[in-house]
């Protein structure tokens, strides 16, 4: 094998190289110039994003083990966008709080992105799990980054994620081992032979349970609120979107690609988990007072809708799931970054810290409102089409009851989303001074805003790309 054979997975290779470059640069940089590491990472990520458009990324690596094409490229772009916005939005915070550890932060983030970008192309169970862990382990480090902060919360947040993550990984690996052991191979395309054994069912379910942890499906969601509350906000912003995309990509690979014949086993369970997730997420969010906890539960609720798209399955459902994830990435990053901006100004992380935002910083409040409307699925911002398309897919797949349940919870969700908007626009606050937002953070918020509004006005290009991506994964055709 020569280096040229790796071209289909070039994005992963480039990101790993970028991580090494940032780490080396960090070693030879004086503390005063360290803030430039953020811009270096941003530039490198942009370059990789450009490369995803210019390089030929089709073909296979090492016979079937890794396959390129529209599917991994679409997901890679999503991960890269999430990474870019996180770096842009968080770099001032990172530079200020962890001046000497910036290099570590960006290196770990880039390694996490390497795992993510490589994940969707993996066609071998072992490689899949390796990529999944390459995505997961850096996240433990990132959530623990605020360990020096006062109070036990940051440590608690990271430890909870780690402990439950470790347990879930055990489940995943055990499930994968059962499947591979029975099939006698780790090649995902021939994982299920003609004779079905109960052990295959057990293996599938354990694998599903392990993956459900990462995307925060109820009842595997319990770490989510605690971790979101305690971890540093830029990390939470990233954590709330990118690993979910990775988790869902893996689920598509495992369920629709490798185990479609076991749909009678995982189908009903996923349906129940979907309903449970919608219920727990949306009802749990109502009573929250901390914005990050609210967004944690809201994120759990959102996952329910993505699951609905996944369940509706085959090409259209998976494509609509991808579109949902794309809309969710930009919206949720946006709303977390606005919360970050408010918290940075020293106003805390409760919902009442948004009081009077409409008068203090009209642009920030307007962005917040649009992100919230997008999360709530109000026309015509990105989130509306996301919910709409997922519902259409579900209806076509004969899941009309779930569409009704989903629509009902979308109305419930309006309460808590509008509750935050209400604080910003209706409630009055003693504070009147404008909230100062750094240039980079403002740029990140504006990027999210443009994406949310743009996807709302003209969703077609992304829908088309998602359709192409779903089509390129063999085995999930209609």
């Amino acid at each position: 094998m020569n280096f040229h054979d790796l071209q289909p997975m070039a994005l992963g290779v480039l990101l790993a190289a970028a991580a090494a470059l940032v780490l080396l640069t960090d070693l030879f940089t004086k503390p005063s110039t360290k803030p430039n590491l953020g811009w270096l990472t941003f530039g490198l990520l942009s370059a990789v994003l450009v490369a995803s458009f210019t390089l030929d990324l089709r073909g296979e690596v090492a016979s079937h083990v890794w396959r390129g094409g529209a599917w991994p490229v679409f997901l890679a772009r999503l991960f890269l966008v999430a990474g870019l916005i996180t770096v842009l939005g968080g770099m001032d915070h990172i530079a200020r709080k962890w001046t000497y550890r910036q290099g570590e932060f960006y290196t770990v983030l880039l390694l996490c992105l390497t795992g993510m970008v490589l994940l969707p192309g993996a066609r071998d169970l072992v490689l899949l799990i390796v990529c999944f862990e390459l995505m997961g382990i850096p996240l433990y480090i990132l959530t623990a980054f605020a360990k020096t902060d006062s109070g036990p919360k940051p440590v608690e947040a990271a430890l909870k994620l780690f402990l439950i993550g470790a347990g879930s990984t055990a489940l995943t690996v055990f499930g994968a081992a059962l499947l591979a052991g029975l099939a006698g191979t780790t090649d995902m395309s021939v994982l299920v032979s003609s004779t079905l054994s109960p052990l295959q069912g057990i293996g599938t379910m354990l694998l599903l349970a392990g993956l459900a942890f990462k995307i925060g499906v109820a009842p595997f969601h319990m770490w989510v609120p605690d971790t979101y509350e305690g971890a540093p906000t830029p990390v939470v912003a990233f954590l709330s979107v990118a690993p979910k995309v990775g988790g869902f990509a893996t689920l598509v690979m495992v369920l629709w690609q490798a185990l479609p014949r076991l749909i009678h086993v995982w189908g009903p369970v996923t349906l129940v988990l979907c309903a449970l997730t919608l219920t727990v997420g949306n009802l749990g969010a109502i009573a929250q007072r901390n914005i990050k906890r609210l967004l944690a539960y809201s994120g759990v609720g959102q996952v329910g809708y993505v699951l609905l798209g996944l369940l509706s399955g085959r090409e259209f459902g998976v494509a609509m799931m991808l579109f949902y994830l794309a809309a969710y990435v930009v919206t949720n990053l946006g709303v977390f970054l606005v919360a970050h901006a408010v918290a940075e100004a020293g106003d805390g992380e409760t919902i009442s810290s948004f009081d009077g935002l409409g008068r203090r910083s009209p642009w920030l409040a307007m962005s917040l409102l649009l992100f919230l409307l997008s999360l709530a699925g109000i026309p015509f911002v990105a989130g509306f089409w996301a919910k709409f398309f997922v519902f259409v897919a579900a209806w076509r797949a004969g899941q009309s009851e779930m569409v009704l349940v989903g629509a009902l919870f979308a109305t419930v969700a309006l309460f808590y989303y509008l509750g935050v908007a209400r604080a910003a626009y209706v409630n009055v606050s003693a504070k009147t001074e404008k909230i100062v937002v750094s240039r980079a953070l403002a740029g990140a918020i504006i990027a999210c805003l443009l994406a949310v509004v743009g996807l709302g006005a003209w969703p077609s290009p992304v829908v088309e790309a998602a359709m192409a991506a779903a089509r390129s994964v063999s085995g999930i055709g209609p």
Binding site: M205, I286, P379, S460, V463
Partner: protein, 604 residues
Amino acid sequence: MNPLISAALVALGLPAALALLLAVVPKLRRTGKPAALLSILGSLLALSAAGWLAATWLHDPKQVLDLTTSWLPQSGKSMSQVGVHLDGISVSMLLVVAIVASCVQLFSLGYLSDEPAPALGRYYAYQSLFLFSMNLLVLAPDLMQLFLGWELVGATSYLLIGFWFTRPAAGKAALKAFVVTKFADSGLILALITLVAWTGSFSWNATLPAGGAEWLALFLFIAVMGKSAQFPLHIWLPDAMQGPTPVSALLHAATMVAAGVYLIVRADPIFAAAPHVRLFMTDLGAITALFAALIAMVQTDIKKVLAYSTCSQLGYMISGLGAGSLMGGYFHLTTHAFFKALLFLAAGAVIHAVHSNELSDMGGLWRKLKFTTVAFVIGSLSLAGLPGLSGFYSKDLILEAVHESGNPLALGLLMATAGLTAFYMTRTVVKAFFGKPSHAAEHAHGPGPSMTIPLLILLVPAIGLGWLAGPMSKLYGRSYAFHLDTIGMVTIALGLGGIALGWLIYGMGLLQALPRAFAPIARIANGSTVDDLWALSYSKLGMGLARAIAWFDRYIIDGLMNFLGWLFMWSGQRVRTLQTGNVQDYLYAVFGAAALIALWGGWR
């Protein structure tokens, strides 16, 4: 490009451009008066475009013109068409909207003359935005664009109701209108989902699977119930009267609430294939008509009388459409738009004169406000269904249709409503304009020309539109010639009886026992029973469920977890565990659930 299409694009684009201009140029907006005049000029130009279109279509009613571009292209074909669709139905609605909007914008200039300049500019920016949204809805070639307009109209109405945002009641009312109609809008979203899932497009002419039309019509009707304030989703409309009165005339009488009725007219092919939903519409419309008329009898706020009367008349329209009379429902929409806008604007002139909405602060106003009195009385008579005035013809059409559909219950309710309508409008007229003048009424001042001219314009259709029913019917692809039969005569008798009874009680002070009998109605009306029921089911039930889940989580799940925890602790007591909150519980949940689904996996 066809000049007719260009005219439609002017009616659509000009208000949008003006709204955008006022939004992005704060300097212009804050000047107040010039911004207002610009917006009025825009609405008048839109009106002339609509007038020309309507004249063309009256001449050649069968014409259909389209200018569309595909939106949401998907896999080679397009799901949605956006642009303008011109036919008899859309053109006539365009004219109604343009006339009422122009009158209201002109009237507002006098009504809001005391507002500071920036607020006035903001108001006119909203007005232009509203006109654009409404025209977008009216000219929609398919359900998706109609939905776009529908949502924009809703959002603009939120802004206009909450215009006086410093009043807490206005903010609350705006939020209520938003949440209630949003709840109903899930019906429209469901309709869009099912329509595209079944047919791959948003056209209302697509062939549907068997039984599909009933579901689709039901989903659409849920949305209509919210927007057109049908029982029990009517609760937002009376509260919406917190907005400025001209806003009520435009949104809550003539155009926005009529959007629901317009949707049914547009989606006629779907509703025509849904007999069960139509029957439900007939009954629910009749119930709404009577229920709202009963509440209107005891209102003491002149705008609330008109608000409930609007609910009631919308009930008529829905009932007529349910009975299968597109002509009846749509024609009543048209006549009602004019006479109700006239009534609201006249009420606005009164409120402007006495600085109060309460009927008790009025009385004897005819001496000071002669022209306003004439306008209000003629509007009331048209609403009461006096023969010769426009309201009579459209109401008669609906009653005939309900009669022919063989629904005696709905017919009875609607006939009773006709009598009640005449009664409560007489009560309002007498209390406001005749009788002993109150203190405020003695110091009342007459409206200026910017307020009287719109009244004068609206008087013309409010009186004479009934005579145009023949040519109008051709626009809807129907034919019509007036003939008076039993139903019509009974309605006339009921109307005259209602007026006479109202005069006896409130004009001459006789039969005072009767109003006292209304006390229970007043209790229901003022105690806002329906609101309480909603509050109970909507927030209390929702919160209750949330609490129940929290309780379940805390006691049952935790209890279970504690037991499991005790079990595991007991077995592994020697192992010191990390004490970080209750992460153990989380782990038990993860492993417990995993074990549970693994069991299922093995069993299957």
